[in-house]
Amino acid sequence: MRDLLRRYGAGLTAGFIGLTVFWLLILVILPNLTLFESSFRPYLPVVDIGGPKDVYSLGNYMKVFGAPVDASFFGITFQLPVHIKIFFGTVYYSALVTVITFLLAYPLAYYLAKIVSPKSLPTLFLLLFVPLWVSEILRSFAWFIILAFKGPLNALLLNIGIIDQPIRFIAGYTPVIVGLVYTYVLFMVFPIYNAIQSLDTNQIEAAEDLGSPWWRTHWRVILPHAKPGIASGSVMVFMLSAGSLLVPTLLGSTSAQWFTQTIQQWMLEALDWNTGAAYAFLLLILCTVFVSLVMRVFRVRLSDIAK
């Protein structure tokens, strides 16, 4: 701090501090506090705001326990409030998406980091980056076309005789998972690539020379080294999936709701911003819990994740 003053003088230092304070206080902290505060207030007509009915309560949060529907988990059917079901569905399927993207991304990241000749890397990266630069909405729209009932995928499968009836792909959570994996798989590839790339190739060769089978080399040498990358990729993919609104709305059906869609309905359809705030806060808690869990499990710090 004193260093800053000496180098840039009082005026510029005040400018740096002022800009940072504006960012963190006005754009981040105060809005989140407002969100927290509003989430405990009831949704009232304008005349009642500030009146006797405007008291803090947990009412907005209690709404998640309304409207029970049938749910089944591993074949056991039971009653579950619909918003809770959607919430845990979102968590479960986001985790599933994270696992699938990891399985897809790990071999690719290893290939890019250790096998392919460095000369063709820039071209490959360019090819990989192109879909990343195409916006999320267009990428899910592409799958919307592909998976349509009379779409190209059904036509292809019918023509080569794998199926003899077109399949209704756009049903349940499957298309949402397909879309999310496609949209976010690259967020898993690049962090893992960065991590593996920093591993000394001699270590892999030493393991092989000492007679380690390939799976053990991966399990004992490469995977542990790639841990920060895996943590970073998992956090990114899970957060983006759980927070995605585009993909579930485009590819989901009424039977496959995402928690962000519920939030959106409270906010923009019911216009009940207070309940919307409460639900948004639940989503925020979920994300915080997930990040701390990953940091605990993988023993990494926040600065390793956000790169």
Binding site: L12, L19, L27, V28, P31, S135, L138, A306
Partner: protein
């Protein structure tokens, strides 16, 4: 044994690229199909109709203009904020640094819906109505963090003794900043502005909750897709993809030219060295 393994890996890479690129091609192809629904199958003949429709769709261009305005505003606000925050945090150490760093990084990890809703509620309390200005502020809150990370990384390679020297030689604080620090940061600031611009164009979640009645391109496309689509959206998508591809190719060619120049310069240097030795 490695040969077989390498072959499998090459195959996997090719399949993966196909997986990434074929959906985009299908989407682009559908923009030429003479069918009211966007699809490539059944193929009903070649048409330019959807591009003509796109050209006459005034709302798309209006939304496009909004998108660009928002993106420019976000870049213009996020770059100074991110740079200032990076300079500030670079001069701190210990606990306060890690706490501040955590607060700065958090918006990257927060879901867009949460950022959008909290921005909307906060400014609404201050009697500022929703609209694209709130979208700008909401987007800045997390995009500034990307700029901060880029500038912070660049600051690691900054030689502070240059500033000491300048101060000793009688430079003013403003001169130190303008002539020494900023030139060193230019690449990071440029990259930060580019990232801010493209992140803002991409943004959907924050914009959806804060936009009021205004459209940006993503929001407009979204409402179109939901309310019954025509292949004009595919035509738009194809143009955007081609634009991206053009940018990527231009970047790659520029990189190759630089690499070639560098190699030539190196060879030149080696020749000069050899001549000297001889």
């Amino acid at each position: 044994m490695h040969k077989k393994r390498d072959f499998l890996f090459h195959l996997y890479m090719a399949l993966f690229l196909a997986y990434l690129l074929i959906p985009l091609m299908i989407m682009g192809g559908a923009s030429f199909n003479d069918s009211k629904l966007p699809t490539v199958y059944p193929w009903k003949g070649w048409t330019w109709q959807w591009f003509i429709d796109l050209w006459h769709d005034g709302r798309i261009w209006y939304a496009f203009r909004n998108t660009l305005l928002v993106a420019v505003a976000v870049a213009a606000i996020a770059v100074p904020i991110g740079a200032a925050a990076a300079i500030l945090i670079n001069s701190l150490t210990g606990r306060i640094r890690s706490v501040l760093y955590g607060v700065m990084i958090a918006p990257i990890l927060a879901p867009g819906a949460v950022i959008g809703i909290s921005t909307l509620l906060f400014w609404n309390k201050l009697n500022v109505g929703s609209g694209l200005h709130l979208s700008v502020l909401g987007q800045v809150s997390y995009i500034a963090a990307f700029v901060m990370l880029l500038v912070l990384a660049r600051l690691q390679s900054f030689d502070q003794s240059l500033e000491e020297a300048a101060l000793d030689l009688g430079a003013s604080h403003g001169q130190v900043m303008r002539r020494i620090l900023l030139p060193h940061l230019y690449p990071a600031l440029g990259a930060g502005a580019a990232i801010a611009f493209f992140q803002s164009i991409e943004n959907f979640n924050i914009t959806l909750f804060t936009r009021g009645n205004s459209d940006t391109l993503t929001v407009y496309v979204f409402s179109k897709v939901r309310s019954g689509i025509t292949p004009t959206i595919n035509a738009l998508a194809l143009l955007l993809i081609l634009f991206t591809l053009g940018l990527a190719l231009w970047y790659e060619l520029a990189r190759r030219r630089r690499a070639r120049l560098e190699a030539a310069r190196e060879a030149e240097g080696r020749r000069a060295e050899d001549a000297e030795l001889a």
